[in-house]
Symmetry: C2
Subunit: 210 residues, 2 copies
């Protein structure tokens, strides 16, 4: 085992450190975020910073870096108050990754990356047609992280479109069956293999596979 | 594909909704969080809400529910200002899951769940000896989410202890090689299989496998 101190981390070459630290939290949620601007231009960007905030109301958070990257997405969310999250399966990985290139504001990543937008009457922002889990979001809260000037956006899930075959009897959505991918660092994409699902843990009896 | 509206979600039976919504964000980072209280009692709890906030300074966030659950961890972090994150590999899953049972404050989850604490001179909180990625954290910021009264804790990575075999030439930590697990919902544990790692996306050329 090798130990790295704060100094070791600070002294890393910048790209090395970015890659190293981005690996640290573990495997991350992977979503394409669909938005629309005032001129009704649609936008799509890949994010690995979506996190669960609560089930009732159903809230998810996402992190925006303070620099110029991904700003189209943040601007559009703040303006239209709506956005979509769309899971990525293996056949979508290259197109999804390509949305991270710095396209000008008036270019639709849907078009240049070869993904088809899909609309519902409830959400103004575009979904990704191919995604097997599509989540319509409404902006609830914008939070500034003072430690590094990142922005956290909290949104409420107001629509879910999901392939029925994946919904189990207790509400569990079997993402492995849908081949939802996960990401490590900023650029490594994975499928998953279940080890086990475990029963609610109690202090007086062992947990069981369910 | 099946569509669920806000109403459909609100009308779900509570446990069904919790399971359903917890599946939505995708696969999540899985970490055991080690803390210590004023009486030097050590505590360990499983979390699936760790997220990347920035690489320089190296910051990670985590979400705490507003109710009483997991409060020992939050209290200890606010008091000692330090905590550890520890990745989980398949042989640790049952012990890791068991830490989510509601043990009284004076019980060490290390002891009852069969995990061995490990200490360094830099961090007062206990690491998990068996973990192949151990991260020492210092509290930076406590943020209230007004939408549902959850608390987000932002911490800085001040120590990393990682199996050297996993660190690649560019700083990428190969979590698949370390068998770091990911979690879906609150109780389903997975290993991963790489589909591909892709080069930095540019607008004028296709991305490549690296």
């Amino acid at each position: 085992m090798k130990t790295f101190s704060t100094n070791d981390i600070e002294n890393m070459e910048q790209r090395y450190r970015t890659t190293f630290i981005n690996s640290m939290s573990g495997f991350k949620s992977l979503n394409l975020v669909g938005t629309i601007n005032e001129q009704e231009k649609i936008n799509l960007a890949i994010f690995n910073s979506i996190f669960h905030v609560g089930a009732n109301p159903a809230l998810l958070g996402m992190v925006f870096r303070p620099d110029e990257v991904e700003r189209h997405t943040l601007e559009n969310i703040l303006c239209s108050k709506q956005y979509t999250l769309n899971h990525v399966h293996p056949k979508m990985i290259r197109a999804a990754h390509q949305t991270s290139a710095r396209y000008p504001k008036d270019v639709s990543e849907f078009e240049v990356c070869g993904l088809t937008p899909f609309f519902t009457k409830n959400i103004i922002a575009p979904y990704v047609q191919d995604s097997r889990v599509k989540i319509g979001m409404e902006l609830k809260e914008k939070i500034k992280v003072n430690s590094n000037n990142t922005i956290i956006i909290i949104g409420q899930i107001v629509e879910v479109i999901v392939d029925e075959i994946a919904i189990e009897h207790d509400g569990f959505v079997n993402l492995e069956k849908l081949e939802t991918c996960t990401v490590a660092g900023v650029d490594a994409y994975y499928t998953t293999k279940k080890v086990e699902r475990l029963s609610y843990a109690k202090i007086d009896r062992p947990t069981l596979s369910i």
